[in-house]
């Protein structure tokens, strides 16, 4: 039996990388995928590829009104909402000394406020559909610091605790809505492409990042998507407020 039969899942950042791979899995497992992204070209192309089980809606995750339309469009097209993946995000390199206040706010708005707004807007629709599962993508940099990613670390730390807050709120309200965070290591997606082509000392950027992981390689988007699939499905119904790490051993 398909693992997400007839479940409707809204995926922010669904046009690329981990979000896109998750959308493919959702459809493969019998669910409906609503791709919500600010990259219209990529989003529409993938939605077309996935066929009737997918829908693209343009979304800037920092805008509450956009979230409301995305949730409404999901319910209108597919009759309900059972899952939300908050995968939209930006990876930015900066340190405490070179990050400006405007940049700090931009990164936190997309990664943290955007995730909060997704949770807030989806909860009523998930409730109406009898409950569901929210998956927020944090990062290993929500668990450990990095000297070169100050604003990103802050935003992913916010997502980590926000997730627990949402989980406990929904549990207390008996909504039958779970909420968990996923913490990937370095995953081979467009987000880190610029890093891979840089040289670090006498190694390529790719080798440098590979060596960070005890498994000796980067993660693949489908490896994270598989963890997300588990969390979206009814296989994980006793898991809520938890941190799911997918990092090739990086934080071990």
């Amino acid at each position: 039996m398909p693992r997400l039969e007839n479940k409707v899942v809204l995926l922010s950042g669904g046009a690329s990388g981990i979000g896109a791979e998750s959308a493919r899995l959702v459809v493969r497992e019998g669910g409906k995928a609503v791709l919500a992204d600010r990259d219209e070209a990529k989003g529409r192309t993938l939605a077309a590829e996935l066929g009737d089980a997918a829908l693209f809606v343009p979304l800037d995750v920092t805008q509450e009104a956009g979230w409301q339309s995305a949730v409404a469009a999901s319910v209108e097209r597919f009759g309900g909402l059972h899952g939300l993946l908050n995968a939209a995000g930006v990876g930015v390199r900066n340190s405490i000394e070179d990050c400006t206040l405007a940049e700090y706010r931009r990164v936190n708005d997309i990664n943290a406020l955007g995730t909060f707004l997704g949770c807030k807007t989806a909860i009523p629709a998930l409730k109406q559909s009898g409950g569901g599962s929210i998956v927020n993508i944090s990062s290993v940099l929500g668990l450990r610091g990095a000297s070169y990613a100050m604003a990103y670390c802050a935003s992913k730390g916010a997502v980590r605790t926000l997730t627990k807050n949402v989980a406990l709120h929904c549990a207390q309200m008996k909504y039958n809505i779970r909420c968990n965070s996923v913490h990937p290591g370095y995953i081979d997606t467009p987000m880190i492409a610029p890093r891979l082509s840089q040289t670090v000392g006498n190694r390529s950027g790719r080798q440098d990042l590979e060596e960070l992981h005890p498994l000796g390689r980067l993660g693949r988007p489908e490896e994270v998507a598989n963890m997300i699939l588990f969390l979206l499905s009814d296989e994980s119904t006793f898991s809520t407020g938890s941190e799911f790490v997918c990092d090739g051993g990086l934080t071990a």
């Binding site: 406020l113 909060f116 935003s155 916010a158 605790t161 627990k164």
Partner: protein, 256 residues
Amino acid sequence: MSGELSGQVAIVTGGASGIGAASAALLAGQGARVIVADLQDAKDGTGRFVSHDVASEESWKSLLADVLGREGRLDIVVNNAGISGGFANAETTTVESWQHVQAINSEGVFLGCKYAIQGMKKSGPDKPASKGSIVNISSIAGLIGSAGPTAYTASKGAVRLLSKSVALYCAEQRYNIRCNSVHPGGVDTPIFNPLWQAMGHEQGKAFVGSRHPIGRMAEPVDLGEVVLWLASDRSSFVTGAEIVADGGLTSGLMKR
């Protein structure tokens, strides 16, 4: 005044009340020259008061200029100012209240670290080299969840991780500046005023205290001692750490 911190200069944001006021008093007790940087002036407080809004970059610039100009050095910054932002949850929090809480609790600490480093790097006649200690007040809400205030919880998670990034960056640069986060459980300060108004101070305090394994709330001085330790050279190998002072609240389960 003589003491372990004699000659050193400390900024305590939110130093007019609660944990900040207790920290300021203990730092001053060890001989530090303390600048209380707060929106409100504590009439009979410790140290020199400078009117300051942690959410404003302009305010940080003038505070640093004032401190370096008048005191000539900066050794300790305690990023303590913070607000609970009320009780709004994941469904009732508005974008405006989210942004307001982040501006003070998260951006305020970001700016505090950035300008702390600028000040601490400066050497002078009586401070031969870059050196310092940054203490950021997060919360147990930055460690575990609560069904309570959503924006607050997120802001304290941000402080927890940004403190590590700052610690690692300063280590990498060999600045000899440490940075740690402090995670208090319930502390009897005016931040709890809304609850005291609802339950009465004594009853409210007993209620919150009973949630802590140790059976009581903290007094501000309990946290002031933690801040003093992190500020001083007694914690010289401690950086990027999460110092929990919560009466056992996040430790685990009790017999029931």
